[in-house]
């Protein structure tokens, strides 16, 4: 299994509070991704990173920001959490990212509930 951990694994928070989710990898892969999973939607890309300090938006990026200061860590921040951000969040990594052709390996997920 790819060495990917996510923290926390579960979090309950209140509307309007900031939340940061962490993804840590030990594979030294260049590309990292944040997805959210909601019933009836499959997984949707929030943001991705193609190197240290290099990030870009995915299809559902509103209300989220990311940072990557080290190869191994990719942080997802909800500046002011809303109930619509209640979801399961997955981090993924890939060795290369060319046109989405490389296999992405997923972390165990974080279940976030915003009350």
């Amino acid at each position: 299994d790819a060495g990917i951990t996510q923290s926390p694994r579960h979090k309950v928070t209140e509307t309007g509070t900031p939340v940061t989710l962490r993804c840590h990898q030990t594979e030294n892969h260049r590309y990292m991704y944040w997805y959210r999973q909601d019933p009836g939607h499959g997984l949707r890309l929030i943001h991705y990173s193609y190197g240290v300090k290099d990030t870009d938006k995915g299809e559902v990026s509103d209300g989220y920001s990311v940072s990557r200061s080290k190869t191994e860590d990719f942080l997802l921040t909800l500046e002011s959490a809303t109930s619509s951000q209640t979801s399961v969040y997955f981090c993924a990594i890939s060795e290369s990212g060319t046109g989405g052709t490389d296999t992405q390996y997923f972390g165990p997920g974080t279940r976030l509930t915003v009350l």
């Binding site: 991704y33 009836g40 997984l43 193609y50 993924a92 046109g99 989405g100 296999t103 390996y105 997923f106």
Partner: protein, 114 residues
């Protein structure tokens, strides 16, 4: 929007039998990849099999194989000798294009009955 469609929200199969999960997709790219991921109740996303579009030969991994029909944009997953541990949500995904994302279908919940 380029989409991935899984037309079977739920399926069931008896242990030891064979089942096929359907997936269709659209794309304007010439080079792309297709994936099946499995998500058991543990919620972990596990790669089952991958197919490169430029390869005509269908991918196989032990009891899992695909039927890739490029012209029809179809990518079905066949599970042979189904086992109780195959009970999971299965997601079809397409990669390729100008960005790095995988586009996922909505999933098929497969239940293997004893």
């Amino acid at each position: 929007a380029q989409t991935v469609t899984q037309s079977q929200p739920e399926m069931s199969v008896q242990e030891a039998e064979t089942v096929t999960l359907s997936c269709t997709y659209d794309t304007s790219e010439s080079n792309y990849y297709l994936f099946w991921y499995k998500q058991p109740p543990s919620r972990q996303m596990i790669l089952v099999i991958r197919q490169e579009a430029y390869k005509q030969q269908n991918a196989t991994e032990n009891r899992f194989s695909v039927n890739f029909q490029k012209a029809a944009k179809s990518f079905s997953l066949k599970i042979s000798d189904s086992q109780l541990g195959d009970t999971a949500m299965y997601f079809c995904a397409r990669g390729g294009g100008s960005n790095y994302k995988l586009t996922f279908g909505k999933g098929t919940l497969l239940t293997v009955n004893p």
